[in-house]
């Protein structure tokens, strides 16, 4: 696996090691995210993609390694420094994580009210513009329980961009959406990235949607980067594992069967345990 280091990466991770219990999640992982681009992090379920996102945002501390985000060494920041950095980050949780007791509008104004002293009329303007950007200005007075899954994610997106962040993280943004909502989210990710000058990082295993929107993709498996490149480059990749993942084949280097004792032996009761 060739090294990829951009000249001015917004996120730079070197030699990342992280283990959970006995299991090694990341073993000397190197990831570098290019400024202003949409980078996807793909891999099978359970490879720690979401954990990697949480390490990038300081929610999880790695055992070893070097994590630089927007010029700051994440591992050396105190809580105030981390919060200062997070004001420039947006994070879209898989389920949206909207405040269920607040209306859509109150959800979007929450970060603005918490971090600025702007007059109420201006706060309202900002919130309505953010809702307009995701196409939900008309839903401002609804409660989160009245929203569909796709709408909830768009509201969460409006809230995530409320403070005009530099980087936005998407955790499995396509999971459980119908095709139309999926198309809306794909379009929003691209439009917001280009119009607001963001850097977007998407964690997902929906190969097709991610390939349609990302500039670069990392393929991660068993704690290591397996492949890196543009969607076209990954499509042409010769590695059997990459082909299996990108094409969604049920058998290949990742076997269909979870490791098990011999079937005949187990059925005849000859297993040792």
């Amino acid at each position: 696996m060739a090294e990829h280091k951009h000249s001015d990466p917004i996120i730079d991770i070197r030699g990342l090691k992280y283990r959970r219990g006995e299991k090694m999640i990341f073993d000397n992982l190197d990831v570098s995210i290019e400024r202003g681009k949409i980078t996807a992090i793909m891999g099978p379920s359970g490879t720690g993609k979401t954990t990697l996102l949480r390490i990038m945002t300081g929610q999880v501390l790695p055992d070893r390694g070097h994590v630089h985000v927007d010029g700051k060494n994440l591992l050396k920041l105190d809580i105030d420094g981390l919060f200062e950095l997070r004001k420039r980050m947006g994070f879209l949780f898989q389920n949206g994580a909207l405040f269920t007791d607040y209306s859509v509008y109150e959800n979007v104004v929450f970060p603005i009210r918490e971090h600025t002293d702007l007059p109420e009329s201006l706060v309202r303007h900002i919130a309505l513009m953010k809702l307009q950007a995701v196409g939900l200005r008309g839903a401002a007075e609804l409660m989160p329980t009245e929203l569909s899954g796709g709408m909830a994610r768009r509201v969460a997106l409006a809230r995530a961009i409320a403070l005009d962040p530099k980087i936005i993280f998407y955790d499995e943004p396509f999971t459980g959406l119908d095709p139309i909502s999926m198309g809306v989210i794909v379009r929003l990710i691209r439009e917001l990235n280009d119009s607001l000058g963001l850097t977007s990082i998407i964690v997902s295993h929906d190969v097709e949607e991610v390939s349609s929107v990302s500039d670069h993709s990392y393929l991660i498996s068993e704690g290591k980067v397996v492949a890196y490149g543009t969607p076209e480059e990954l499509e042409q990749n010769k590695s059997a594992w990459v082909r299996q993942f990108m094409k969604g084949l049920s058998d290949g280097p990742v076997p269909f069967h979870y490791p098990a004792p011999d079937l005949a032996a187990q059925l005849l009761g000859e297993e040792t345990e």
Binding site: T57, Q59, I79, F83, E84, R86, K87, M89, F91, F93, N95, A97, L98, F99, T100, F110, P111, E114, H115, R159, L163
Partner: protein, 256 residues
């Protein structure tokens, strides 16, 4: 030695919880000055924790006062000193029953609501979402609720006592025809402001802090699952009841 192992682990768990909630209390107190700068958030909690418990507190207070009046009347009647019924009701409420029963009702009404609210916010990643928006959930969510509970409890106890006294009056004077004048004058003569009134307020403040601390602690550290939140809610009621009764004994021993 095997039979000692179980109590040993229970003791260990208890000490661990005591230490953790103590540290959590320090954490809350550290952010209290910050929270006081946004009184709106605290008043909102005084409303949801305190005002929403009013009906329960008033109805319970009325019945407790009526029962005290009735029991007191039956016993004192044997000594032909039924005019003391008012004193018995007032002292019983001010010194013990007011703070203790209010705290137990508070655990069931407001404590469970606090625990499940905060626990569910954790389970649905709302607290993590807040952290990602650079907002500390302890400061924004937990501290205002804690202060709201501490402020609400003495107010609820005061209302409980006032309604309870009214209940005693209803049974003693209206039903059993004790002389109205001696009912009030006996209370006036035997209830000491410093001894009885102040100690009740101290108790209610301490119980408010204990009950709310347990509720927010259990909610904040609840396992983020349906079962975890339900267990935390149960623990809130059980632990608050035990803690309030134990602390009540200690306070009574020190103050009288």
């Amino acid at each position: 030695m095997k039979f000692l192992r179980e109590p040993y682990y229970i003791l260990l768990d208890f000490l661990e919880m005591l230490g953790a909630s103590g540290l959590f209390l320090l954490h809350l107190l550290r952010y209290t000055p910050h929270a006081l700068r946004r009184p709106g958030l605290i008043f909102q909690q005084v409303f949801t924790i305190g005002a929403m418990s009013l009906v329960l507190i008033m109805v319970s207070g009325l019945f407790v006062g009526m029962v005290l009046g009735l029991q007191g009347f039956n016993t004192l009647n044997k000594f032909a000193s039924t005019s003391m019924v008012g004193t018995l009701v007032a002292l019983g409420l001010l010194r013990e029953l007011g703070p203790v029963i209010t705290a137990l009702l508070f655990a069931g009404r407001a404590g469970t609501a606090l625990t499940s609210e905060i626990g569910l916010m954790r389970a649905t990643e709302q607290l993590a979402g807040m952290e990602m928006m650079a907002v500390d959930p302890v400061r924004r969510i937990v501290v205002p609720r804690f202060l709201g509970g501490v402020i609400s409890m003495p107010l609820l106890v005061g209302i409980f006592n006032a309604v309870g006294l009214l209940g005693g009056y209803l049974v003693g004077v209206v039903l059993m025809h004790i002389d109205k004048g001696s009912f009030w004058s006996q209370i006036h003569a035997h209830v000491d402001f410093k001894e009885d009134f102040r100690s009740g307020i101290i108790k209610s403040l301490v119980f408010g802090a204990v009950a709310t601390l347990i509720a927010v602690f259990e909610g904040y550290y609840a396992q983020p699952t349906a079962e975890g939140v339900s267990r935390a809610t149960t623990r809130t009621v059980v632990n608050t009841a035990l803690a309030v009764l134990a602390v009540d004994y200690l306070l009574t021993a020190f103050m009288y």
